[in-house]
């Protein structure tokens, strides 16, 4: 079984502070990470590999530094990794990304499942999965919490539904988007980290390797403006054992003549 996992490298939100008054985002620490939701997808793929054997292939579109995301995926347990990078991809919007990833997946070929995260923590649009499924002509199951069974040309998965879950089946190949925190992504073992950088290869493809024309790389959307939600007020956090915390809260309100 071959499972392809498209992942996205994003700026670590932990290194960013937002200043609403200045309407600016400050990057205090520029570090890049694998989009956490994509890690959930990768973990689900690795779990299937552990249980029934599979070849897990990680693929990402991004600048050269996205190589690090792929090395991390290899360290976690992926078998192969592809970096799709080209100056022509720089202005890509979601439709261009779909094309690029779609073509790469077709070139890799022979896959049973595509697993990816529901949404990226930076843009949060959640469109890639469904768009990719349409581009590739695949059945899609979204917000999957667990892949239950894969075999005999079919996949059965548990997904969010109303206040609970539903089990959905699809024929293979299929694309599944995995819910955030559906699982606990594993830590990459140290020896694999060393080998990911020192021994193993990442395959690099550009626009010409994928046979993409310039016309297909024109974005369909344009970002006009970013604005901020209103500011929250500074408050006081009361912690501790319930009895004492309640006492403290009551004091606080009394002293301020609220009650």
């Amino acid at each position: 079984m071959r499972i392809i996992v498209p992942i996205k490298q994003i700026l670590d939100p932990g290194g960013i502070t937002v200043n609403r008054r200045a309407e600016r985002i400050f990057i205090n620490r520029e570090e890049y990470i694998i989009n956490p939701n994509d890690k959930n997808a990768l973990e689900e793929a690795l779990r299937l590999k552990d249980e029934q054997g599979a070849e897990v292939v990680a693929v990402t579109m991004g600048p050269e530094r996205a190589d690090d995301a792929l090395r991390e995926a290899l360290a976690m347990g992926a078998d192969n990794a592809f970096l799709l990078t080209d100056a022509a991809f720089e202005k890509a919007d979601i439709s261009v990304a779909t094309t690029v990833l779609g073509k790469a997946i077709q070139k890799i070929g022979d896959y049973d499942l595509i697993l990816t995260g529901c949404r990226a923590a930076d843009t949060g649009a959640g469109q890639l999965g469904p768009r990719l499924a349409e581009y590739l002509g695949l059945p899609q199951i979204t917000e999957v919490h667990q892949v239950l069974v894969v075999g005999d040309g079919r996949v059965r998965a548990r997904r969010s539904w109303n206040q609970g879950y539903a089990e959905v089946e699809a024929s293979l190949p299929a694309l599944l988007t995995i819910a955030l925190d559906a699982n606990q992504p594993r830590y990459p073992p140290g020896a694999r980290i060393m080998n990911a950088y020192r021994e193993w290869e990442v395959t690099v493809w550009g626009a010409s390797d994928l046979g993409i024309e310039a016309a297909e790389l024109q974005p369909l959307t344009e970002e006009k403006r970013i604005s901020f939600p209103p500011e929250r007020e500074f408050g006081v956090k009361i912690t501790g054992a319930p009895e004492e915390a309640v006492r403290e809260l009551v004091q606080y309100l009394k002293v301020r003549r609220v009650i």
């Binding site: 360290a75 020896a191 980290i193 060393m194 950088y197």
Partner: protein
């Protein structure tokens, strides 16, 4: 000169940091109160390769060298002194003695399971009459057929209870003393005549056991000699040299956390209407911490580079241990002071860091011994031999 860490080390650091934050930090207080680290935590760490960091992959290790080992010790000691000490004694001195001078058979038999964390190691040198004066050990090993029979006791042994195998130093020829009369052995806990004695009740690192080892006619096969008979003191001194470096790295991690916690607190704690970050006393304490930590960081990783590139490192390793432990002490002390009363209460982690930190200036060679090592090395270059 490239001062950036190669990418694999950056990823390693991130992995250990997340493991430490998510899996270890929440347990730190309980580990201190219960005086015990859950075995599953050690096993989790082992599965990630954290119990064999510097050893080559062919011996079951991570293959990350001394630099990788320093990174791991730095990140682990940030969140739990006890766990760092357990791993430090296991890798840094217990398994390292076998790695440095053990035969290939000995390495296959013991180093590989140690590196994988299937066995836990310890390092037994100290005795009641032989602390800083390590050369005056008395534990005796007498040849009897294909075995050695050992008699004596060791105290203050980290992992004394937890360990499965112990690298231990004993006297094989009393007339020769440290030069040619002392041999290193690998002892399996199950060998007849081996038992553990008193476990110390300590100020800090309470999750790591510090225990007496007792040898009463303990039979050890001759194959378990590490290196050559009579050359054990040299093996142990080389091992301690290397161990010092990683202790310096551990101190770096905890000092760094003391700084980060202090900065965070200084931003939110208000006094006289403003955050205390606006007080010059606080600013200067923070500046001093940051400066010392920066200096320590460069010292530690340059020394790790010396080791990984096969250069002499003895003096620098002693400096790492000396400076690291003293910087750590000053940093946690300042952190307690910046946190005020909160830094003295057991429900906040700064208090635990303060207690855990104090041992670093004492074990694996007191600060006084480190100073002797450094001064000896400097004067030796001038042709002057000094003795303690």
């Amino acid at each position: 000169m490239d001062f950036t860490f190669p990418k694999e080390y950056q990823l390693l650091r991130r992995m250990v940091r997340e493991f430490a934050q998510n899996e270890v930090a929440p347990l730190a207080r309980e580990i201190d109160e219960k005086k015990e680290i859950p075995r599953q935590l050690i096993d989790k760490a082992a599965r990630l390769g954290l119990l064999g960091v510097p050893f080559p992959q062919k011996y079951g290790g991570m293959g990350a060298g001394e630099t990788g080992y320093c990174i791991v010790m730095e990140e682990l000691n940030k969140v739990c002194g006890s766990l760092a000490v357990i791993i430090g004694a296991h890798i840094g001195i217990g398994a390292t003695a076998i790695y440095l001078d053990g035969s290939e058979e000995l390495k296959k038999k013991y180093l590989t399971p140690l590196a994988r964390g299937e066995l836990i190691g310890a390092f037994a040198l100290t005795e009641p009459g032989a602390g800083s004066d390590a050369a005056s050990i008395r534990t005796r090993a007498e040849r009897d057929g294909d075995d050695y029979v050992l008699n004596g006791s060791k105290i203050f042994i980290t992992n004394g209870k937890l360990s499965d195998v112990v690298s231990l130093l004993a006297v094989t020829d009393p007339s020769l003393g440290a030069r040619g009369g002392v041999t290193a052995f690998v002892i399996e806990k199950t060998f007849p005549g081996f038992s553990t004695g008193t476990e110390e009740d300590k100020m800090g690192i309470r999750g790591s056991d510090t225990t007496e080892l007792i040898l009463e006619n303990c039979r050890v096969p001759k194959e378990n000699v590490i290196g050559e008979v009579g050359m054990g003191f040299i093996t142990f001194m080389k091992t301690l040299d290397l161990g010092r470096l990683s202790l310096g790295a551990a101190c770096l991690g905890a000092a760094q956390l003391a700084l980060e916690a202090s900065v965070k607190w200084a931003r939110i704690r208000h006094l006289f209407g403003k955050p205390i970050a606006h007080k010059q006393s606080i600013q200067f304490m923070i500046a001093d911490m940051a400066t010392e930590i920066e200096a320590l960081r460069s010292l530690v990783y340059r020394t790790a580079w010396l080791v990984d590139t096969g250069q002499p490192f003895s003096r620098e390793a002693a400096m790492c241990k000396l400076y690291g432990s003293e910087v750590l002490h000053r940093c946690v002390d300042r952190a307690v002071q910046i946190h005020g009363g909160m830094g003295y209460m057991r429900d906040y982690f700064i208090e635990l860091m303060y207690r855990d930190a104090r041992i670093t200036e004492i074990f694996e060679g007191t600060s006084e011994i480190q100073r002797i090592v450094i001064a000896s090395d400097i004067f030796r270059q001038e042709g002057v031999r000094i003795s303690p």
